[in-house]
Symmetry: C2
Subunit: 340 residues, 2 copies
């Protein structure tokens, strides 16, 4: 246990006293400001180094009126969508010498309010709200004295700025890819139909099919975002419509289940049946047989974007409002195109 208790951190006053100069001179020496002789500057610097002086960010912030901190308010840390977003944001902020307060509300509105108050009392310069679904979530309100950006889950108030992945485009992209692979009889297995993500992806898929003069084979199948459901659904599907040549899955987990059932039923992927997933969850997508083609929502990029918007807002740049749908990306692997 590192515990140098009692060893109070050195203050600027300590440095100044030790160097035999005034506090103001010491400050100027350390910050390259004002008129300080080279010798004095060097001396102060040396002493500061020796005492391992670190300016107190609070005292500094008190003066500047900015803290150089940002709050990251998530609904559900567990959710794997949070992590890349969080990484992207942390990354962007880190580059700008801003530190991140992490708060996990556990999906509880009361806890969220509580955390929000804490963040405000810490005088964060901005807030990013990360939701766990792409469904709209309640706005924190317009009364917040710092800029707020919503990531992944958009705010239900159009006056807020929200960044969310473009699930519609993702659905299109998936189908367009399958079509370009020569598939024509395409079915859709997805997760919980109450998720906006499920509906948006389906809508995109239908639009792309319609443009090609096609329709989904059978009704889209909804239930859970699990491998189990993927297996069960695929088994039913292949029995009812043995003539399908592709399945667009609402998630990689579902796709894994579909691959499993397809193998059980003697269908060869991708020759006989192409399978495309969604989310590009590497652990699942790159470890299946064959590896899984998937749609990647560029979440880390989304986190970066959110951070940059907050940056701009802090600098007084107007960053707009409304829901912005960020582009997604197709990652092609063996489940849709045979190797060589």
């Amino acid at each position: 246990m590192t515990d140098t208790t009692g060893a109070r951190a050195a203050t600027l006053g300590d440095v100044a006293a030790r160097a035999g100069v005034s506090i103001s001179t010491a400050s100027k020496a350390l910050n390259d400001r004002g008129d300080v002789s080279a010798s004095t500057r060097a001396k102060v610097r040396a002493i500061a180094e020796e005492l391992s002086f670190t300016p107190n960010a609070m005292a500094r912030g008190l003066l500047a009126g900015r803290t150089g901190t940002v709050g990251l308010l998530t609904s559900d840390l567990e959710g794997r969508f949070m992590i890349p977003i969080l990484m992207g944001a942390e990354d962007a902020f880190g580059a700008g010498r801003i530190n991140v307060f992490l708060c996990d509300a556990r999906g509880d509105a009361i806890r969220e309010q509580h955390h929000l108050k804490e963040l405000l009392s810490r005088r964060v310069d901005g807030i990013i709200v990360v939701g766990r679904q792409t469904d709209a979530r309640p706005s924190l309100g317009q009364e917040i004295p710092v800029p707020v950006v919503y990531a992944y889950a958009p705010s239900d108030d159009p006056r807020d700025l929200s960044l969310t992945p473009d699930n519609y485009a993702g659905g299109r992209l998936a189908i367009e890819h399958l079509l370009s692979c020569g598939r024509r009889r395409i079915a859709h297995i997805s997760g919980d139909p109450t998720y906006a993500a499920a509906q948006d992806r389906l809508a995109g898929a239908r639009a792309a099919l319609a443009e090609a003069g096609l329709e989904l084979v059978g009704e889209p199948m909804f239930s859970e975002w699990t491998e189990h459901w993927g297996r069960d659904a695929a088994a039913m599907l292949l029995q009812q419509h043995p003539d399908i040549d592709a399945v667009f899955c609402g998630s990689d987990q579902i796709a894994r289940g579909v691959l499993d059932s397809a193998r059980d039923l003697g269908r060869t992927v991708p020759d006989d049946l192409a399978v495309i997933g969604y989310d590009n969850w590497e652990v699942l997508a790159t470890n299946s047989r064959p590896e899984l083609t998937s749609i990647d929502a560029n979440l880390q990029q989304l986190g970066r974007q959110a951070a940059l918007r907050v940056f701009d807002a802090i600098d007084g740049i107007d960053v707009g409002e409304g829901s912005h749908h960020l582009p997604v990306r197709l990652v092609i692997r063996g489940s849709t195109i045979a190797r060589r």
Copy 2:
């Protein structure tokens, strides 16, 4: 975009002025301290509410010498081991009105130093260092003016306090469970042999076997922590030693691969072959056929513990030193015991 720019947050002075009392009286009224008449207190409270006054935590911290913040220094946010630890810590801190600064060093020592300096300049009251492997990592040093606790990856300096899951006990537990299921011919497939986790689990497993007068069947197989390797290794293993009745896998991913190959080769799990994983990664463990028995490292608990230790250290309680190995837990599912 919520942006009430210019709407400076209300200060205690504003409240006091509006209430027609002095700043000190206002402070006492809001903090239930000192002698304030009930009527004055009520009045101040009402005004504070009206102005939605939130005390400036910086100014408060400046005085108190404590910030009520803790730094969480991770090496690799992506790693899924971080997240539960982070959740546990955030949870414990949240209960104590402490906020968490999150810093991701991306596994880079220089970036870590950089973040450390930032945290110190923010005058965090304590630091938790979360590593991505259970291998010992370089200590941050003894010169840090606040308590430091290492979680998951222990520090290489025994004077530091480290909390790490007990992989040795995990290995024992896995084998003891297999033995109690009546298995006697047990093989081991694990990941990267340079990981302390791999070696510790193996050592625990061997110890448990030795106590039963048994040995591993064949040499333990090491390579990667992937499903692919699990499949390949299992195929080899079952060819070389068709008579094995159980496989202890170093990770759930490997176990998934083993299940896959076993099915391909016509082995029935668990009747014919028991499989046990490690990490209890729910997404993998509960979606396999059959579901996977696994060892859970209680990471969220570990995060909580780390937070509590930091709490204690902040309160001046000596929390000890050295590497502490936290208990792990067996989660039994269908891959080792047939349903009913």
